[in-house]
């Protein structure tokens, strides 16, 4: 049994400790918002928070999450109204949308660490999450919007 706090709920996972977290989420726990893009830690589509820090779930075995807290896109906010989610809607960020769970999770961790990130900090944080549809410009604008409360609803 692997104990893990998943999206605020304590779970005991009866799964192979070598199983990557990504597949546990997607195939066993019904949380398909975390995406498979490469399986080798190169695209960031599978980004989740492990004790608040973004990790690639595809290369994180369940053994590494034992006793820790995991947050996925489904747990980012109770009502889908995290400032980043709202900013993503206003800036019309997603195109195909496939990378966006990963983008949002990495951006959310960034804002927790740096509530007012510089452009360089945004670059550094976001460059590990690939978007084939080319939504990066809008992601930057949405992060800046979410980081700036006066601009949030504009």
């Amino acid at each position: 049994m692997i104990p893990v706090t998943l999206n605020g709920e304590l779970r005991e996972l009866d799964l192979d400790p070598n199983m990557p977290l990504l597949w546990a989420l997607r195939d066993h726990l019904g949380l398909t918002g975390t995406k498979y893009g490469c399986g080798t830690g190169e695209c960031g589509a599978c980004s989740v928070h492990l004790d608040g820090v973004p990790v690639n779930a595809c290369v994180t075995p369940l053994s590494a999450v034992a006793g820790k807290t995991v947050t996925t896109i489904e747990g980012l906010s109770p009502d889908g109204r995290h400032p980043l989610q709202l900013a993503w809607i206003v800036e019309e960020v997603p195109q195909c949308g496939y990378c966006q769970s990963g983008q949002l999770m990495v951006a959310a961790a960034l804002l927790t660490a740096h509530p007012r990130p510089t452009d360089a900090a945004i670059d550094a944080a976001m460059s590990g999450v690939l978007c084939r549809c080319g939504t990066y410009t809008r992601i930057r604008r949405a992060i800046q919007r979410a980081a700036n409360p006066e601009a949030r609803d504009g």
Binding site: D27, K35, G80, I89, C96, G97, M126, S127, G134
Partner: protein
């Protein structure tokens, strides 16, 4: 109770028809003629045809519906194109909603089943691609909305016994002019469905004029965004069916090679593995979970037969293409006498360009889920070609088409890749063999190594200028594999592949002597549709060559283009707008330079200016300014996003990787060796849209063609060294 549907009117373009829904409600559909020459104007020439309508259409399967007014008040607009990021889930319903007089907040989008009326007239199939969706739907969907609105107004007028002119439709209700009465569409639906049509069938119902639009041209929020920011969006890999198994297929790495034998004892011992078996495309590992299947596949031993392709590599392909740069070829365009003009030219140059194979690298790897039963089959799939999926399943199962349901999920990227059927074959075959629903998952390596690639091409260009510096002669020979020979053979004519010559044969510039040729040179590498199509190669070579000619003539690249576009106001306008917004005439920042490029594609025109700098290890694109004339704009923000996206797609192909072959195998297999443009490599992007009354042109593939030449021309301006191939190697500067 179901009334037999009735044909209500025959317009020039479409046979519209209505029927009642089970449970009370109205369904309105239209029979669009299926195949047309790939031009919007050709719609006029199409003849309407009557299609069989099932005797009892049900709410779940109405093969020809565009609008479903459900008895419970819900308004469903049917989407017959695949949402892969380009925004059709929002823009196509906008066309219906505009004429139907409903708000986007009042509707649900229902995904279409496969049906003859959902055929994309540009592609001749129910499919999505080549930047055609909006152009195809532009008139038809508005007509469908207008007819429904008229019927609902007529029904209200009949109910109130007032003239129709006293009734007005607004936000899903018909209001009477006295201000006291109104009825919801749902209340009118059943009556409307049974109404006779008052007008003579030849008089078309007028569409709203553009100044009366309340939705088209505005930027309502995309309907798919809330799902995509909350993890709720369902892509192909998110399909979960009861009893479903997961499978992954080991394909032979050498293109076209077949499995000789395999050993799976160790793989079969992995917990959760259900079956290992040979299928058409390789050896499949089927398991209870994705991970078990993927893990078992890693230790599966597969031995492949030697293949005649085993020695194929990029250098050999290049050598073959080079041989095709001279000798016989098919003629794509001829005007004047180019040989004589080159002989007479004051100065001339010749350049050979090379453009490599490129992969699609959709972020969602290829996948498909099939559930084949003895008497029916359901396929859940992120596809750009619903009709092809149905046909694939029909061939494999032998079931009649009406027993095969195609459920389109959201697509985690398409770019042309999802028009193919290879992943569908995997899933249908396995489900049929195992008697259970099966989801087939491609790994990233499968996806990159077994793609249908954007063709590699070689180009030889010769150009001549006279003593006044006028461009008088232009010769362009294209050598590369044919895509249409496989995908749409009926459209090959005289050895010409329309996509390989796109943007080369029909150059906008006025050059008195011009000749364009195509030499087909097929290779073992499968080729397919890619974002922007053949325009991506041809815009690169023609726009770069033009800058070399400008240099030869001692002219500014912008000035030369303006001169050559004297009678092309649309092209000149975008060119001048992009140049102006980019500050073309201002002195550049030290260490930087600008390049400009133009492209005409999909009924739209775009000019792009890129500002770059270069160091020993890196070409950096700082800023890109685009000016776009894509006709009437349905949703300006979606257009901008598509231009940005296409541009980034093209910038990846300009600066990052390529697909190469060695020993018959594709060498790239992950994002480390096939890198995509990253967040920190992004230029600042501006997209300016030009006002236009023309019918909408395509935009999805529009941003891709001009970015490579704009960057290359900027580097040429910066360093004096021209770019003759892609991707651009920083070491060359």
């Amino acid at each position: 109770m179901v009334d037999p549907p009735e044909n209500v009117r025959l317009t020039r373009r479409a046979l519209l028809k209505i029927g009642a829904l089970a449970g009370g409600g109205l369904v309105l559909g239209m029979a669009l003629p299926t195949r047309a020459a790939p031009l919007p104007d050709a719609a006029d020439a199409m003849s309407a045809r009557t299609l069989p309508i099932p005797a009892d259409p049900s709410a779940d399967f109405v093969p020809n519906a565009w609008i479903r007014l459900q008895g419970d008040g819900r308004i469903q607009l049917v989407l017959a194109r695949s949402e892969m990021g380009q925004g059709v889930m929002t823009t196509l319903p906008m066309l219906l909603a505009e004429e139907l007089e409903v708000g986007l907040d009042q509707i649900e989008v229902a995904l279409a089943p496969v049906g003859p009326d959902y055929v994309n007239r540009f592609l001749g199939a129910q499919a999505t691609g080549e930047s055609t969706s909006l152009r195809d739907a532009w008139t038809g969907l508005r007509e469908a909305g207008a007819v429904a609105r008229r019927l609902l107004i007529n029904a209200a007028a009949a109910t109130w016994e007032v003239p129709e002119t006293e009734c007005q439709a607004r936000r899903g209700r018909v209001h009477h002019a006295d201000g006291t009465r109104s009825l919801a569409y749902a209340e009118l639906a059943v009556l409307a469905a049974g109404l006779p049509v008052s007008e003579p069938s030849s008089a078309p119902i007028p569409l709203k004029s553009s100044d009366a639009w309340t939705l088209i041209g505005t930027r309502p929020r995309r309907l798919d965004t809330p799902l995509k920011v909350s993890g709720q969006a369902r892509y192909g890999l998110d399909v979960r069916l009861p009893g479903m198994l997961y499978a992954t297929v080991e394909r032979c790495p050498v293109l076209g090679s077949r499995v000789r034998h395999w050993r799976g004892e160790a793989a079969r011992a992995i917990p959760g593995v259900v079956e290992i078996l040979m299928v058409r495309h390789g050896v499949a590992v089927v398991a209870e979970t994705s991970w078990a299947a993927l893990r078992a596949r890693e230790i599966l031993e597969v031995d492949c037969r030697p293949s005649i392709n085993g020695a194929a590599d990029t250098a050999r392909i290049r050598a073959r293409f080079r041989a095709g740069l001279t000798g016989r070829a098919a003629l794509a365009h001829r005007q004047g006498d180019v040989s004589a003009a080159l002989d007479a030219a004051h100065r001339q140059i010749e350049v050979v360009y090379e453009v490599p194979f490129q992969a699609h690298a959709c972020l969602e790897p290829m996948n498909c889920t099939a559930d084949v039963k003895p008497d029916r089959c359901a396929v859940h799939v992120p596809t750009q070609d619903q009709q092809g999926v149905q046909e694939t399943a029909r061939r494999l199962t032998g079931l009649p088409a009406e027993r095969i349901a195609v459920h389109t999920t959201l697509l985690g990227g398409g770019f042309g890749r999802r028009r193919e059927q290879d992943f569908v074959i995997d899933a249908v075959e396995l489900s049929q063999l195992l008697g259970r629903p099966v989801q087939v998952i491609w790994t990233r390596a499968d996806d990159l190594r077994h793609d249908f690639y954007r063709p590699m091409t070689l180009h030889r260009l010769r150009g001549g200028i006279d003593e006044q510096g006028q461009l008088t002669a232009w010769f362009h020979r294209i050598v590369g594999p044919s895509l249409f020979a496989r995908a749409r053979p009926s459209e090959m004519s005289e050895g010409l592949d329309p996509t390989l010559i796109a943007g080369a044969a029909n150059l906008a510039y006025a050059i008195p002597h011009r000749r364009v040729e195509y030499r087909r040179a097929d290779t073992p590498v499968p080729v397919g549709f890619w974002r922007g199509g053949g325009h991506t190669q041809n815009a690169f070579v023609t726009e770069c060559f033009l800058d070399e000619l400008a240099r030869l003539a001692g002219q500014d690249p912008l000035d030369l283009r303006r001169t050559l576009l004297a009678d092309r106001p649309r092209h000149r306008q975008v060119l001048e707008l992009a140049a102006e917004r980019a500050g073309w005439s201002a002195p550049p920042t030290t260490g930087r330079a600008c390049g400009i490029a133009l492209a005409e594609a999909f009924g739209s025109v775009i000019a792009t200016v890129a500002e770059v700098s270069a160091s020993a290890d890196r070409v950096r694109v700082h800023r890109v300014v685009c000016a776009v004339d894509c006709g009437q704009v349905v949703h300006p923000e979606i257009v901008r996003a598509q231009i940005e996206g296409g541009l980034v797609f093209g910038l990846t192909a300009t600066l990052k990787g390529a697909i190469t072959l060695s020993d018959g195998r594709v060498e790239q297999g992950n994002f480390a060796d096939y890198p995509l443009l990253r967040f920190d490599e992004m230029p600042a992007i501006e997209v300016h849209l030009v006002q236009s009354d023309a019918a909408p042109g395509g935009v999805s593939g529009l941003g891709t063609p001009p970015i490579a030449p704009a960057v290359a021309n900027a580097l040429f301006a910066l360093t004096g060294r021209p770019v003759h191939g892609l991707p651009i190697a920083p070491s060359a500067f």
